[in-house]
């Protein structure tokens, strides 16, 4: 599959070269289909506009990133036109995760990156922009152990510590980090669903299944917490580390999203915050 991917990338590169289209300034472009947004914590609320819409104060606590206005009553209409704290500023999407606590002290992540990737599917050229207004929930807030969890906890700058689905003990001088991959295949019709999951799916064998045929960017959330040492007293508002979950409400301006998908993901190139490369 990698070979296949390379082949497509090479062909695109050749076509581009033949027509004198600049793919990268000089030398080998970085062959990773990626653009990103970094969005520090904006605010913390006991709200969840996807799972408990309109029910202010009825949820466990969440850390919200990006759009400053997100609350229980948020809709696509209420979010658009607001501002957020992402780099790039153009991304005014909403992202949120359960609050992390050590005993009863909330701990905010100090590194928050949302990568939009072309990996996971064999044909990145077919990736479509994430539909405007799409809501995605990833991870399992109800996980009861490793078997029903996709959480991943590891240590920044301590690669020798094996990743785990629950919290890991990170050596002094390192940071606890967590990765979460969102499903990247859309049913092509619904921006949400009753269980907030069934309108999306993960790819199967490098492609989107016929039930969810539309390939969209793979959102990967990477959070870094100023935490190391013992895991004693660590918990999420949703429970153990295995219950890590993330919510995404897409309100990237359409043109900004489309430009990045076209210029970064479809052609398998690593872009910067502004969606540019080399």
């Amino acid at each position: 599959m990698r070979k296949h991917l390379f082949h497509i990338a090479a062909v695109i590169g050749l076509i581009a070269a033949a027509f004198n289209v600049p793919v990268a300034a000089q030398g080998e472009p970085v062959r990773v289909a990626e653009f990103l947004a970094e969005c520090p914590i904006s605010h913390r609320l006991a709200d969840d506009p996807i799972v408990l819409p309109n029910l202010a104060g009825a949820s466990h606590f969440h850390d919200f990133f990006g759009n400053h206005s997100t609350n229980a009553r948020s809709t696509q209409q209420s979010l658009e036109g607001q501002t957020g704290n992402c780099n790039p500023a153009a991304d005014i999407s909403s992202y949120w995760v359960p609050t992390l606590y050590r005993n009863n002290t909330a701990i905010a992540p100090t590194g928050v990156t949302f990568y939009y990737l072309g990996e996971g599917v064999n044909n990145p050229a077919a990736i479509q922009p994430t539909p405007y207004g799409l809501k995605i929930v990833a991870g399992n807030a109800k996980a009861t152990g490793d078997a029903d969890s996709i959480a991943r906890w590891s240590c920044l700058h301590a690669g020798h510590v094996n990743p785990s689905k629950n919290f890991v003990t990170c050596p002094a001088g390192t940071m606890l980090e967590t990765y979460l991959d969102f499903p990247q295949c859309w049913d092509g019709r619904n921006l949400d669903s009753a269980d907030h999951k069934s309108h999306m799916s993960y790819p199967v064998a490098g492609g989107c299944p016929s039930s969810h045929p539309v390939s969209v960017p793979k959102l990967r959330m990477v959070l870094r917490y100023p935490v190391n040492g013992s895991t004693a007293g660590l918990r999420l508002a949703s429970g153990t580390g295995q219950t890590m979950h993330g919510d995404f409400f897409n309100v990237w301006p359409r043109a900004e999203m489309e430009r990045r998908v076209r210029n970064c993901l479809n052609v398998v190139i690593k872009c910067d915050h502004n969606g540019n490369h080399g």
Binding site: A58, Y132, V214
Partner: protein, 161 residues
Amino acid sequence: MRPQRQPRLTILLLAGLLAACQQAPAPAPPPPSTTQNGYGTTERAFVELAIATDEQALKLLELTDRTELKENRAVELTELRKLLDAPYVNQHAGHDMPGMPTDAEIQLAATSPDAREQFVRTHLTESLEVVRSAAAAITHPPTAEVVRLMERHRTAELAAG
């Protein structure tokens, strides 16, 4: 930008063709958060949350002699379950939800009378806040009626100490 050249046009045409081939169907408009006075997403979310909360509260109250509270929670559960339009799934098990005693709290309450009193009170004050939030958001009349019942119950229970 240089003046338009043939290859550039070809690229544009190719890109257009590709885009046309890959055109995704237009997304359906987002479903309304509640249908007109109907049982919508807010109602469904509240009912599921209230069932999860009351079930955990009953476990805590079983450790007390507060008969009226136990009866009130049981009545609420019966009324809430009547509102369900799909098999009940506990979306909030193990979560630290406002008004919902956690398993750890229930365990502690089993051995500590002080903790028991405190957790019962926290259940009442916090779940009253959630119910009041629901009262402001819910339009479906039968659900709104259960919300009012829950608010009456908690207000009286808090007044009784």
